[in-house]
Symmetry: C2
Subunit: 188 residues, 2 copies
């Protein structure tokens, strides 16, 4: 799926096709993400190792994962839960960075996009996706930014005294679930 | 990359091969993730729509994204930053769920795995990955759990009065970055 990265003639259509499988459908956010990543890659130019930061959890992370070497699990794509349709690609070594975001004035020319983007009323998602493809980069802005280097902390691991599973050590000898900090399941 | 999901004869090796491209390399965590997801899928059985929760940000989310319909960007995979090598797959409609996690006693039989898992000393990652493949499901445990349904909240969007970009509305009319809640870049 990422084997054609170096092929300059690859088209956005190929990523849309891959997105139908990976993301599940051609959501407006995914389509927007593909156009944003393509733009950011071009602006950033060739770099040996790329890192990414996405400012929303929705859709756009999947475009980054399909179109760059950055995935959620390899740690090269970080996600900020800001709910902003914006992303930054940067050179992991040199730290020069390109941030791409949406031009809120320009999208007013495309009512279905504006309605979807501002969540200001129901609009057919397929129509929005097609409008985004039509608008392309015209609804995007970009800026050079400086990203702080992302440093992974070394962690010590403990066995939780309650569930017996391993977790990054903390003060109370309990993993986050057993400590009651967070939860999503009950054992049946 | 996920086109062969329905092929019962697909081997874990095919996912390892795909992982080299998607994840970037065969990390021990990715290899462990592939074995965990394969096990969880088998235990869960056939279900129309699967959701996933992963309890660590490292490596395992990529195995889930390659081997199920759940991705970070489509929202069907949630990630908890607990640092626990564990995951839950569940039927989105019926909510019956299988949680797979590591048997901390059993991994003591595999010193390289134990050292890597508990971060208790340097160990060659390729050796660990190979040991994990050798150990397979013998180092895993599972349990039936009940997952609370994941409900997406409807949000209202605002234009940030500082940067002019769109973001989910809050009390102060500023997006999280402009409000100083979180940041990762400076504009050059």
């Amino acid at each position: 799926m990422k084997t054609n990265f170096s092929n300059a003639r690859e088209s956005l259509e190929s990523f849309f096709a891959q997105g139908k499988i990976f993301h599940g459908w051609l959501s407006p956010g995914f389509v927007l993400g593909v156009i944003m990543v393509d733009f950011a890659k071009e602006l950033l130019g060739k770099c040996e190792l790329t890192d990414a930061v996405v400012e929303t959890k929705s859709c756009i992370p999947d475009a980054v994962q399909l179109m760059t070497c950055c995935t959620y699990g390899n740690g090269w794509m970080r996600v900020k839960g800001w709910g902003k349709m914006a992303l930054t690609l940067y050179d992991k070594r040199k730290l020069n960075s390109i941030r791409v975001y949406v031009n809120c004035e320009e999208i007013k020319k495309y009512k279905p996009i504006e309605q979807w983007y501002m969540k200001s009323g129901h609009v057919e998602k397929t129509i929005v996706a097609n409008e985004i493809i039509k608008a392309g980069r015209t609804i995007l802005l970009w800026q050079k930014v400086k990203v702080e280097p992302h440093i992974k902390k070394d962690m010590i691991f403990n066995i939780c005294t309650s569930c017996g599973e391993s977790y990054p050590a903390n003060e109370c000898n309990l993993c986050p679930r057993c400590a009651g900090i967070d939860n999503y399941y009950e054992v049946e």
